[in-house]
Amino acid sequence: MKWYVLRRLAWTLVATWLVLTLTFGLVAASPDPGASAYVAQQVQAGGDVEGAQASYERARGLDRPLWAQYRDYMIGMATLDWGWSETRSQPVVEAVAAAWPYSVMYGAPALLVSTVLGVAVGLYSATHRNTLEDYAASSFAFFGISIPDFWFAIVLILVFGVTLGWIPIYYRSDVPWLSLANARQLLAPALVVTLSSIAGEMRYSRATALEYVNSAFVKTAKAKGASSWRRVTRHVLRPALVPLSTILVADLLNVVLVSSYLVEVVFGIPGLGLLSYKAIRQQDVALVLATVLIPTFVALLGNLAQDVAYTVLDPRIDYGGREGR
């Protein structure tokens, strides 16, 4: 097991390097809108294009060979010196440190609620298959899966912010984090993320639990007099948790990679999603690489944690046998 984890950790480093290298290459090959605007401005002020291009690159260290830039970025990444954000004029580490609490503030509760409620409702649906409640839950799940996050976010702002005035129409970062006002303004973004995650959880847990509700060992438990609650929580949930733990990582990635971009842009929350979105749009290489690094780690370490969790949830799973391979 120990060797397995170590190997996976080593693979994590290799995969991270690959992702960062690919990202660096893509950003380097893309046109830089900042350079375009700067050069146009300088030319209109009487400068020449080549001079303007050269000074732009010099000020940003882009006049060095691509290989040198790549090497420095990678060394910086490894030594936690993630460089300087040209579009924010601050160290990248500082930018990330300032942004992540905002994402966590709505992302964590959303993930918690969607996981607990999603699994609970999914199990309920599985044990009450083809009832009115099951249909209602399925309908809700399909609604959550189908509705685009950004559209739902705008509708929430229009209905609850503009029409009813219950929530602010834009995020105010000067509100104390631990305050009712902050909770009020985070409610809508959390709801959007919750809805998109809970639907998947529900459908997946329902499908997984269905495999077990009619299995022999559950029937045996029922024959032995186990209550419905006990059968679900002890005999259905436990084996179902193994595949369900897979979707947890996917959910986390969904929040980090998809929902945070859409939700933060629409609500104007200065979190990791907005940080990454702006970095990509403005081609802030150092910031792009750092914000790509985060979901990469979430994915790789999440998958590792998930594999380890399998062995806890199901003692029959053992990676020890792979060590000899």
């Binding site: 900042g34 375009s36 146009a40 300088q42 002020a45 291009q53 004029s89 000067d174 104007g268």
Partner: protein, 602 residues
């Protein structure tokens, strides 16, 4: 690109730290006692403005965007501003004298102080900054001011508070060049270590430069905090140097207490609909440029009022005269014909809701350089005519392989002439205008294929930058026969250019054959380069006016582009925010005294 994209020499109008005369027609209206913007007692309230995007930097050596300038401008004035054509507002600079328009002597005020430990702002600071950064060898520091300070301009200290700038030849409009207008310097003590080490990274990352903590009494507000992508907050400066000159011309007594807000807040709200909602809710003191289609709706709101200062950006339809554009666009008669066929009044009235004024040349009518009787009109009123346009086209194509087949203008291959009109994405009116142009030109037998060219940087890289295949792409890569853009195009819309009414010298880059921004390959028939040279160097004001009159007359005649319109800023203010000129009286350079604008007392 678009309004605010390509470099502007004129600041945006209307808010704090921008220009305006002190006429006040609204002091008696509204109720100032709402929200945190209340007045009275010790509280002066908070100025709140929503901005669509964040500043890139507070270090003005490296900023090239308008938003960064807005942020920095709150904490720091500059050398001087303009309040009318030829009339400066002396800010850090107390006085300017000149000899033969070649030697310019500047004297700084004696009450300018950096934050400790840098002491007084002196001529030494200015000279050191210019010589070592703005004119740094090969622009080693990569600063944005480099283009404004050519190597052949010299600067020297002549006293503790005075310095002299010597030009290689007379420049009557040097005052209105970017070398000194709106320019700033830095404390020598702050930048010296970086200069000596040629430390670009240090200069870029210096904490004082990035937090404006060196600005002393040099601006109306002191920097308080900047939360990226969220807000910028500055608080009223305890000691603002202009308070000491209140009452002196041109500063009114109102400057004795300026600014009139305790806090200055710029709230970053990327979504336009959300910004507008904030305006509707009464959260904002000022909103710059409400979309044209929303103005009527927002004017109905009791808590708002509007002003419409002129905008010096010209919206034009560009004719590609390079080798990858329609060959006949090189013929003046054809360009005139197309400009005659396109109804620019309809564009201004119907697409842009009547806010812009029709353009006929590269100066707005309110510019002192616009001489009505010298300008040739096209596409407005009587000069908009399909018949006239067709007649011009028929005359132009006679003797060529082109000709009319019924109602269609056909080319050498016998098929109808189809022009590719590229428009910039990002504003719905761009596409509407492109489609309208297509409709107009169909009336003279030309088919137009509107193509979405993508966002500004894509349009720039695909259609503006051109090369003859040997050098790097530039905006003017040389002969129009050899240097072409990456993608072919015939007509292009969505790029607005600043007409520089304060100093049209700068517009030379667009209209001369070798002009560095002549991306469309225009080769003037009139001697524009000579006239520009005269205008730039003559010390005879009448000769300068005549030279520019000729330039702008020739542009209207030759139609290198179809000059469509000059718009206005559609600025919304809280009704109880007073001090700005009345509606209809807000001119181009009004707004320079906006630090005296305030919320009316209850």
């Amino acid at each position: 690109m678009g309004a605010g994209g390509l470099a502007s020499l004129a600041g945006c109008q209307g808010g704090q730290s921008d220009g305006g005369s002190a006429g006040d027609g609204d002091a008696s209206t509204g109720d100032a006692s709402t929200g945190d913007a209340s007045t009275g007692g010790d509280s002066r309230g908070t100025y709140v403005e929503a901005v669509p995007s964040d500043a890139q930097s507070l270090n003005f050596l490296y900023q090239s965007d308008a938003n960064s300038e807005k942020f920095v401008g709150a904490a720091m004035d500059a050398a001087y501003d303009f309040r009318d054509f030829g009339e400066i507002v002396p800010l850090w600079i107390e006085s300017v004298t000149e000899t033969d328009k070649t030697v310019w002597e500047y004297t700084l005020r004696d009450n300018l102080r950096w934050s400790e430990p840098y002491g007084q702002l002196t001529a030494e600071d200015w000279v050191y900054t210019v010589r070592n950064l703005y004119q740094g060898e090969g622009n080693w520091a990569g600063v944005v001011q480099y283009a404004s300070w050519p190597d052949d301009v010299t600067i020297e200290e002549t006293g503790e508070r005075s310095f002299r700038v010597t030009l290689p030849e007379p420049q009557p409009a040097f005052l209105a060049s970017r070398a000194m207008w709106g320019a700033r310097c830095l404390p020598k003590g702050l930048i010296e270590p970086y200069v000596e080490e040629r430390d670009v990274e240090g200069l870029k990352r210096d904490e004082e430069l990035n937090t404006l903590s060196y600005t002393g009494n040099l601006g109306p507000y002191d920097f308080e905090e900047w939360e990226r992508e969220s807000r910028f907050v500055a608080t009223r400066a305890d000691e603002y140097y202009l308070r000491e000159v209140a009452g002196e011309e041109p500063f009114g007594e109102a400057f004795a207490e300026a600014p009139y807000f305790d806090e200055y807040r710029l709230q970053v709200i990327p979504e336009e609909s959300t910004r507008l909602q904030a305006l509707r809710e009464g959260d904002l003191t000022f909103y710059q440029n409400v979309p044209a289609d929303k103005v009527a709706q927002y004017r109905e709101l009791d808590h708002l009022k509007f002003r419409f200062p002129p905008n010096p950006y010209c919206a034009s339809l560009y004719y590609n005269q390079r080798a990858n554009g329609w060959e006949l666009l090189r013929d003046v008669r054809v360009r005139r014909a197309l400009s005659t066929a396109i109804d620019k009044v309809a564009v201004a009235e119907d697409i842009y809701r009547g806010f812009p004024t029709v353009a006929q040349t590269f100066q707005p009518e309110w510019s002192p350089w616009y001489v009505t009787e010298r300008v040739t009109e096209h596409g407005a009123g009587d000069t908009h005519s399909y018949e006239e346009a067709r007649s011009l086209l028929e005359s132009a194509v006679s003797g060529t392989d082109y000709g009319y087949d019924g109602d269609a203008l056909v080319g050498p291959d016998g098929s109808q002439v189809t022009l590719r009109l590229v428009f910039r994405a990002g504003a719905s009116q761009n596409q509407t205008t492109a489609e309208f142009v297509a409709q107009e030109l169909s009336n003279v037998g030309i088919a137009v294929d509107p193509v979405n060219g993508g966002p500004a940087n894509t349009v720039q890289s695909k259609y503006l930058l051109n090369t003859d295949g040997e050098g790097q792409p530039t905006f003017n890569g040389g002969s129009r026969d050899a240097s072409t853009s990456q993608e072919p195009w015939d007509l292009l819309y969505g790029i607005t250019l600043n007409a520089y009414p304060i100093n049209p010298n700068g517009s030379e880059v667009f209209w001369t054959e070798s002009g560095s921004f002549n991306f469309f390959g225009y080769v003037p028939e009139a001697p524009l380069a000579d006239w520009y040279a005269t205008a730039k160097s003559t010390t005879d004001e009448a000769a300068r006016r005549e030279a520019f009159a000729k330039v702008f007359a020739a542009l209207s005649e030759e139609q290198p582009v179809d000059f469509l319109n000059f718009s206005v800023f559609k600025n919304a203010y809280r009704r109880d925010y007073v001090g700005m000129p009345d509606e209809g009286e807000y001119d181009y350079l009004d707004g320079w005294d906006s630090t005296t604008w305030r919320l009316a007392e209850g």
